[in-house]
């Protein structure tokens, strides 16, 4: 029974990792950009939500709702002012710029909020749980997982059922030809990063309410997100969700065996998948 519980908790934890990963997957899918500051942007959004809860005296969910447009604007501006300038065939400039951004963000947060760890208060929800037979599942983990599925569905709809999604895919295939269709690749990229920041904000809501965070929490989240994306297969949204779940389950199972092995077990699951299926579990047919 304990193992069923462990695996279930792992699946729910995987929802959180999928939320971390979906934004990264979106941006990579459209502009082949790996944003090394992705984890720090999640932490930035978590601090934003925290500030909004105290400043406007809002609940965490309302505060996240207010944070959504702000983070969209942050992403849009970041892409317009900085990242669009470094996109190109050379992978070095975008990597180094986002790495620099990561260091700047971490230290700016440290300056603004100190190195103390914080948590977004969620009241009774923090401890609420639903008993299912002999197992009890936390309400927050369940909400996280449900959100991950909803975000995956929403992105799937956006990508495959809307004109914007069509333009995303066309630009990803061939920006020059897309511009012959009247698409402005720079504007498309800015919208994509804005949308990724919306996903980041949702991820931040659950990161911040479920556990403590501090200015240096970001890089580890980037790594989990990255592992989920690679396990799932580049560009596959459902694959990313599956990847998140695999990391989550590996971590809870590892922790069950020895608490010190939690993080290590997640990484080892990732390396194992990379060894067996280098292109991930659900690779796209073409790149």
């Amino acid at each position: 029974m304990i193992w069923v519980d462990t695996v279930l908790q792992g699946v729910l934890l995987g929802g959180l990792y999928a939320l971390f990963a979906l934004g990264l997957s979106l941006v990579f899918g459209i502009m082949r950009l790996v944003n090394l500051a992705h984890g720090d942007l999640i932490v930035l959004a978590a601090y934003l939500i925290l500030v909004l809860t105290t400043l406007l005296d809002l609940g965490p969910f309302m505060a996240a709702l207010v944070a959504l447009p702000v983070m969209f604007a942050v992403g849009w501006t970041l892409q317009r002012l900085v990242l669009n300038r470094v996109l190109g065939t050379d992978i070095l400039p975008p990597l180094l710029v986002t790495f620099g951004l990561s260091v700047v963000l971490q230290n700016a947060l440290q300056e603004g909020f100190s190195a103390d760890s914080r948590r977004i208060p969620a009241g009774w929800l923090e401890t609420a749980s639903v008993p299912i037979g002999p197992i009890s599942l936390g309400v927050m983990p369940l909400l996280t997982f449900a959100s991950a599925i909803l975000v995956t569905l929403a992105l799937q709809w956006l990508f495959y059922r809307t004109a914007l999604g069509r333009a995303f895919r066309a630009t990803s295939d061939d920006p020059a030809t897309a511009s012959l269709m009247g698409v402005k690749p720079d504007a498309i990229f800015a919208k994509a990063t804005g949308i990724a920041m919306i996903v980041v904000t949702i991820a931040a809501l659950y990161l911040g309410t479920r556990a403590n965070f501090d200015p240096t929490t970001g890089p580890a989240r980037l790594i989990y997100a990255f592992e989920a994306v690679i396990i799932g297969g580049l560009g596959s949204l459902w694959g990313t969700l599956a990847g998140g779940i695999i990391i989550g389950v590996a971590q809870t199972v590892g922790a069950q065996i020895n608490p010190e092995w939690q993080i290590l077990a997640g990484h080892i699951a990732f390396l194992a998948v990379l060894l067996i299926r280098p292109r991930g579990l659900f690779p796209r047919a073409f790149d």
Binding site: F28, R32, L33, V34, L36, V82, R85, V86, I91, L92, P93, P94, L95, L96, V97, F99, G100, L101, S102, V103, V104, Q106, N107, A108, Q110, E111, P219, A220, L222, I223, F226, E227, I230, L234, E260, I263, L264, H267, I268, F270, L271, L274, L275, P278, D287
Partner: protein, 356 residues
């Protein structure tokens, strides 16, 4: 024109002067401990080890196109193997430096095996994951202190090769003598690194590497094996980075997983040094480490502002002057202190007639 004989050369007047200046600087640097203060020696040690790390990262990313953010794996693993071999087997730490390099090299084989499966930018995070795995695994190694770390045993520290000789010759206390030894080793390592990389880049293989960076397709079509080049560069960089890591913690005397595998200290700083100085040149990291040291001295009291300035500067350089500071200088003046291009020079008379 007809009948004039030409010779192929890579020398420039600037490079000859630079070689002379470098020789003088080297003599001064070797003699430095006889007249300099201990804190200057420590600063120089820091500069030289960071320079070594920067040169190896530059070889990887600037010449090999392998953007690794996981070099802390080799710094930390090398350092831990030096401590481990001293604690468990009583190996002299100076000899342990070689072991540090060899073990880092051994670690690089599985690392490359995994990371090379990841395309382009994902390679970067792949190396980071490996570094995390190594950090978490080493934290389980109780003999070297697990998660809290350990110190170099007293015997190993005080009886290290050369320390007593330095104590006697320079009339220093043991701790100062250790710093001098570490400094000389760092100097030797930095000089060997720069010399070795310069030599490598001028060999046939090194030229192939530059060709690969400039145009993968073209280089392949003339028979450059890109996979093999990537392996060679990655392994060489790991070896050197491991030795540097061992040396840094030999001087430090204490080690912990968080300090030995710090992504900020051993990768972020190194990347900023290379980017600010000028990526893809040997001169760049030299300029970069000096700027880095100056900034650190100036902003030491401002805590996290210092890192923000450094990160911001790195971003600004990437956006507005991707060639870095050295790129600005050499574009303006055509100066090359470590020329790699081969040029035709007419033999006999003094006026070289350059054909690039």
């Amino acid at each position: 024109m007809a009948g004039a004989s030409y010779t192929v050369t890579t020398r420039t007047r600037a490079s000859q002067i630079a070689a002379l200046v470098a020789a003088i600087l080297l003599i001064v640097a070797i003699a430095l401990p006889t007249f300099a203060s201990r804190s200057l020696i420590q600063d120089m040690f820091f500069i030289l080890t960071m320079l070594t790390l920067a040169q190896f990262w530059n070889l990887l990313a600037g010449y090999g196109g392998l953007v690794s953010v996981g070099q802390q794996a080799f710094v930390g693993f090398g350092a831990y193997m030096l401590f481990g071999s001293a604690i468990l087997w009583g190996v002299d730490p100076v000899a342990g430096l070689l072991l540090a390099g060899v073990f880092a090299l051994v670690l690089a084989v599985p690392t490359a095996f995994f990371a090379f499966r990841l395309q382009g930018p994902y390679f970067a995070i792949g190396t980071w994951v490996v570094a995390e795995v190594v950090r978490l695994s080493v934290a389980q190694w109780k003999a070297v202190g697990g998660g809290t770390g350990t110190s170099l045993p007293r015997d190993a520290r005080d009886l290290m090769w050369g320390v007593q000789w330095i104590e006697r010759t320079l009339d220093l206390r043991a701790s100062a003598a250790r710093d001098v030894l570490a400094y000389w080793l760092a100097l030797a390592l930095a000089v060997a690194t720069i010399g070795g990389i310069y030599w490598f880049l001028r060999t046939k293989r090194g030229l192939a590497l530059a060709a690969l960076r400039d145009n993968v397709q073209a280089a392949r079509s003339v028979g450059v094996d890109s996979d093999r080049m990537r392996w060679i560069v990655f392994l060489v960089a790991a070896f050197g980075t491991g030795i540097a890591g061992g040396l840094i913690f030999l001087q430090n005397g204490r080690i912990s997983p968080d300090s030995a595998f710090s992504v900020i200290d051993w990768t972020a700083f190194v990347i900023f040094i290379v980017v600010i100085g000028g990526i893809g040149t040997i001169e760049g990291p030299i300029i970069g480490v000096l700027v880095f040291f100056a900034l650190q001295t100036l902003l030491a009291d401002f805590g996290s502002w210092y890192l923000m300035v450094l990160g911001g500067l790195g971003i600004a350089v990437m956006l507005f002057a991707p060639g870095g500071l050295w790129g600005l200088v050499s574009d303006k003046t055509g100066l090359r202190l470590f020329p790699i291009q081969r040029r035709l020079e007419r033999r006999g008379d003094g006026s070289p007639d350059e054909i690039e």
